[in-house]
């Protein structure tokens, strides 16, 4: 189940799983995404950096239609987003999302949190789903918490459950929006470790984060947003060691 994504073809030769063309989005008069063009390859780990308010969250949320766009096209795994709810649901099934605030369902046990969507959205049989859920809890390192409620877990544990919950749908793409920003420092590592493991399995990942070490170590490619635009794109070493754009240099100098 975990190895199926691993693909030995080099990244450059693989096909795109996400294609964004000329995305434009406004919140009222505020132009938050300006002509964003970006493709993501199968199995690629793309890290999105940028200062606060630059549109990173808005961008990543357009990919599973949590935010509407006013111009441009988004194609995810062959389906082009439109107003058609069935297209939206198709794409959401194939993309898991992890939020800054975990957003677990507080009235359900951990196990139920993980099992609900596969049972009702994927319509998989319950015993199969339970097996997947327990395996995933094992993988994120908290099998003993299965029957507790989210409120009884630490932030780091909750975020790992949130990752397991997204993975239980067996998505092709995982989106992370600042998954460690709400965590106490000592819990950040346990979540990042899970994400690193996930990257090794060949999962396609789009990660908004401020964790520079993670970006350097795990990313295949980094894009830098500022004022709703992509300023610079490159591999971690290109971007960190030899930034081209002034605004990139400014951003890096502020954050490192």
């Amino acid at each position: 189940m975990l190895e199926e994504f691993n693909d030995s073809t080099p990244l450059a030769e693989r096909e795109n799983i996400i294609e964004c063309k000329n995305l434009n989005k406004w919140f009222g008069d505020l132009h938050v995404l300006k002509n964003v063009n970006l493709n993501v390859k199968k199995g690629e780990v793309l890290v999105v950096l940028g200062p606060s308010g630059s549109g990173k969250s808005t961008f990543i949320r357009t990919l599973n239609a949590l935010e509407e766009i006013q111009e441009g096209t988004i194609t995810v795994d062959g389906t082009t987003l439109s107003n058609d709810t069935s297209d939206i649901e198709t794409i959401r099934k194939e993309t898991g999302m992890v939020f800054q605030q975990f957003n677990l369902f507080p009235h359900m046990t951990i196990l139920k949190n993980i099992m609900l969507a596969p049972i009702w959205v994927r319509k998989w049989p319950k015993d199969k789903v339970e097996k997947i859920a327990l395996e995933l809890l094992e993988r994120v390192g908290i099998p003993e918490q299965a029957n507790k409620y989210p409120g009884q877990l630490s932030g780091g544990q909750q975020q790992r459950v949130a990752i397991a919950r997204a993975l239980a749908m067996q998505p092709k793409i995982m989106l992370f929006d600042e998954p460690t920003s709400a965590l106490d420092p000592e819990m950040i590592k346990e979540v990042l470790d899970v994400m690193k493991e996930l990257a090794k399995t060949g999962m396609t990942m789009v990660v908004v984060t401020h964790e520079m070490n993670f970006a350097r170590e795990v990313a295949d490619r980094i894009v830098l947003f500022d004022f709703g635009e992509i300023i610079e794109t490159g591999t971690p070493s290109e971007l960190f060691d030899n930034p081209q754009h002034d605004r990139t240099k400014l951003f890096l100098s502020q954050i490192l």
Partner: protein, 398 residues
């Protein structure tokens, strides 16, 4: 070789229990400062005189024969005596279910079954009730206790749940008969039986209607949305009495011939429509309290709106508004007494009718106190269980 002896310590140490001495407790709670002492003494004197007056009246001056003579009338109105067994069967069904549920789920529901047991014991031991009533009452106690122990042992959770679902239709069938058993017209139901019927029917039906209205009010479809808003605001702008009158006079006009409802059913419809609007507003409060993240997480997992509403949003929303909803249920329960105005004789109406009988002149106090006691007991039970449920669900603690 020396062996080191370790003291065995329990893994989790309980916090030390504070020993409470009565004198110390009194000092801490009642006489901690001079102003506190003043209040204690002042209120003590007040309570003493009120209690003394009330108790002397209740036990020595009051003439309770007015209640005991009319006990059956007060509780079941004109319900034919030969058919009273049906009412008892319904009560016993509730006892069995409550007993089993108390054994299975423990907690609040056990408290409720203890409560019912006490009620049975009290009413079975009243000096003036008939021998049959005593037998029914004690059967109730036996069923509750047997159910409780049965529920602890037997794996019948599903059966009991099904039982609760079927209880309502079975009760209606038994009470009315529908010509399969001898038909007892709803107009013969009176007294506390009518009060309970009105309250339960309007709670059972207004709850789902209220939830639908609350959901409809948030709908993206303008027709649905404005219909719900219009309905809720309209109903909330009218007194219940007006609605009861309208239901009595207008419903027959609207429905034309063919569909003839008697006035009890009309009152039920009126109360249901009225309370649905209030429940809708309560539920709406709950829906608004759900953080946006819950919606986003459900969408991101691929839930469509109905799955999301059913599994994620409603359960959380309803939990947060349990206290408000039970408050509304209590209001419904007490509002049933307004039906006297449209000519139905609930327990209060019955008390009033009896008090006008010259034979019982000057004994209104006893009658109305009895009615008040019955209302209080049931309302208190409702608010007590709501508080317990609230605590056990940890509302507000999240």
């Amino acid at each position: 070789m020396n062996q080191i002896q370790y003291e065995k310590k329990p893994l989790i140490e309980k916090p030390p229990k504070k020993k409470v001495n009565i004198l110390e407790w009194l000092k801490d709670n009642l006489f901690s400062s001079w102003i506190n002492t003043l209040f204690t003494i002042g209120l003590g004197i007040l309570v003493f005189f009120v209690l003394k007056g009330t108790l002397t009246w209740v036990f020595f001056s009051a003439d309770w024969s007015v209640v005991s003579d009319n006990f059956k009338l007060l509780l079941t109105g004109q319900y034919p005596i030969v058919e009273l067994w049906r009412v008892w069967v319904c009560i016993l069904l509730v006892s069995i279910l409550l007993g089993f549920s108390g054994g299975i789920w423990n907690g609040t529901i056990t408290h409720l079954s203890i409560f019912l047991t006490v009620l049975f014991l009290i009413s079975g031991l009243l000096p003036f009730v008939s021998i049959e009533s005593r037998i029914w009452n004690f059967t109730g106690v036996v069923l509750l206790v047997a159910g409780y122990y049965g529920g602890k042992k037997l794996p019948i959770k599903k059966t009991i749940l099904l039982g609760w679902f079927l209880l309502f239709p079975i009760t209606i069938f038994l009470l009315n008969g529908f010509d399969i058993l001898t038909k007892v017209g709803t107009n013969l139901c009176g007294g506390f039986l009518l009060t309970l019927l009105l309250a339960i029917v309007s709670i059972v039906f207004s709850f789902p209607i209220g939830v639908l209205l609350a959901l409809g009010r948030r709908s993206k479809l303008p027709v649905v949305k404005y219909f719900c808003i219009g309905y809720i605001e309209f109903i909330r702008g009218i007194p219940l009495i007006t609605i009861l009158f309208v239901a009595q006079i207008m419903l027959p006009l609207f429905l034309g011939q063919g569909l003839e409802f008697n006035n009890v059913v009309r009152a039920m419809i009126g109360m249901t429509l009225f309370n649905a609007a209030y429940l809708a507003e309560n539920v709406r409060g709950g829906l608004q309290s759900i953080p946006r993240g819950q919606f986003e997480a459900s969408h991101a997992l691929g839930f469509n709106s109905s799955l999301m509403t059913f599994f994620i949003i409603l359960p959380q929303a309803l939990r947060t508004v349990i206290p408000a909803m039970v408050g509304q249920f209590i209001a419904i329960f007490k509002d049933t007494s307004l039906v006297t105005i449209v000519g139905l004789i609930d327990i209060l109406g019955m008390a009033k009718t009896i008090s006008q009988n010259p034979e019982y002149l000057g004994k209104q106090m006893e009658l109305f106190l009895f009615v008040a006691a019955i209302f209080f007991v049931f309302c208190y039970m409702l608010s007590y269980s709501s508080r317990r449920i609230e605590n056990s669900l940890g509302v507000g603690k999240r």
